[in-house]
Amino acid sequence: MNDRRPGFYGYRRPDGRVGTRNHVLVVPTVICSSLVAERVAAAAAPYGAALPHLAGCGQLGPDMHLTHETLAAYCGHPNVGAVVVLALGCEQVVAQTLADAARREGKPVEVIAIQSEGGTVRTTAKGTAVAQAFGHALAAQAREWCDVSELVLSLKCGGSDYTSGLASNPALGRVTDRLVDLGGSAVLGEIAEIMGAEHLLAARATRPDTATQLIRIITRVEAEARALGLDIRGTQPSPGNIRGGLTTIEEKSLGATHKGGERAGLEDVVAYAAPIRRKGLTVMDTPGLDVESVTGMVGGGAQVVVFTTGLGTPTGNPIAPVIKITGNARTGRQMADNLDMDVSGVMSESETLDSAAQRLFDEVLAVASGKETAAERLGHREFAIHRRNPTI
């Protein structure tokens, strides 16, 4: 251990990755087992974390694949110490595949199915017993010192206003640049919100292929939006963004892309919830909807999320801490419950961007070491798997 390098206290996993939390994940294979999964997770507090979702059946091809891959990614995630797979019995998502994803990473796992267990009451009782036993085992695990380069930071903004592009996003961008300088990783999603700023990111690609992939997915998302035959301004920028002074998607994107820093090289472009494979900056193909986007980036392996907001939003995640930061002084007062950090001093010139970035960097490491975020305190654990096609 080098005392001069920043780091945090995390949970080292058998696969070498590091967790910032130690959850017993209770994962329903299908919407039908979601309620039981939520009850089991609640009964295994404070370790239990459920992933209630609306999918798992009635899906074909790419959507089924995406549901499977996303749930499997959470089962293997370093913030998860043990897994209970809660199946129904007749659904498409294969419980054993999810269990295997956890086993591959050396996590204890058990599969319980409502149809074979004999109904809600018996399944809830058995699931609770298993999840509580897993929780007791996790309680004995200790955090250990981990270098900052082990961190994969998810970069997110939502409820943006004019302060996002001037204060909170540039502060986060400085954290990204510093983290990447130190050998860490960061992931940027929300392809629609790179539209208009892609030339800046593409210019930072470390390989020509990566720039081409970035432009390809932006072209695809733009073509998808066009194919709807509708005015994208119904959602991008959102009505709240427009009230906040943002005029076009380009303006929103240019502000949003500041989260990715100014010099960190763009190393990779990956699919939704797919593993973040490289150190440095990665772009993930996620939609702009906050919860779907955070769900995907955490699925990719991010252990901490920094979420900048102008207007204030409550979004959390079941397994990863979400740090909320605003540059809007009014939001800082109005939504204090939901916020972890106020950098509005950057707007009023009472704080420099460098100072705000230093405070945020320290907060990221404190949260990585276990400090509770506002979203965790309030029980915000939103989870939504991206879907492309209709339910069949």
Binding site: R216, G244, T248, E250, E251
Partner: protein, 116 residues
């Protein structure tokens, strides 16, 4: 605190950091700007006249095209600026306001499977 903020020297708009009332004189860099209409905090003010069809620049990059002539000191927002990006409601795609050519690439084929 400054009344308005210019982010890049290429920009032809500035961001109001406080509400600007009509007739408000603002010294910005080497010029004097006069707000000709109310502009809310966080909204944009034209630094110089922008002709219909010209690009509006903020952060040093184009954020859309002026759809009518915009005089200096005017409020710059959705009523006088529009983007053509992702617009399915436009029959023919309007000229791209970005500084880079629109790429003619096939749809993406990102690998979605996790490695074994």
């Amino acid at each position: 605190m400054k009344a308005v903020l210019i982010i890049s020297e290429r920009d032809n708009v500035a961001t109001a950091l406080e509400r600007l009332d009509p007739g408000r004189r603002i010294e910005v860099e080497t010029m004097t700007l006069i707000a000709i209409e109310p502009i809310a905090a966080g909204h944009k003010i034209a630094l110089r006249p922008i002709a219909a069809g010209d690009a509006v620049f903020k952060y040093g990059s184009p954020i859309g095209l002026a759809i009518i002539d915009i005089p200096a000191g005017a409020h710059v927002h959705t009523h006088n600026v529009a983007s053509s990006r992702g617009r399915g409601d436009l029959k023919v795609a309007a000229p791209h306001s970005g500084p880079h050519p629109r790429p003619a690439e096939p749809p993406d084929t990102l690998q979605t499977s996790r490695p074994e």
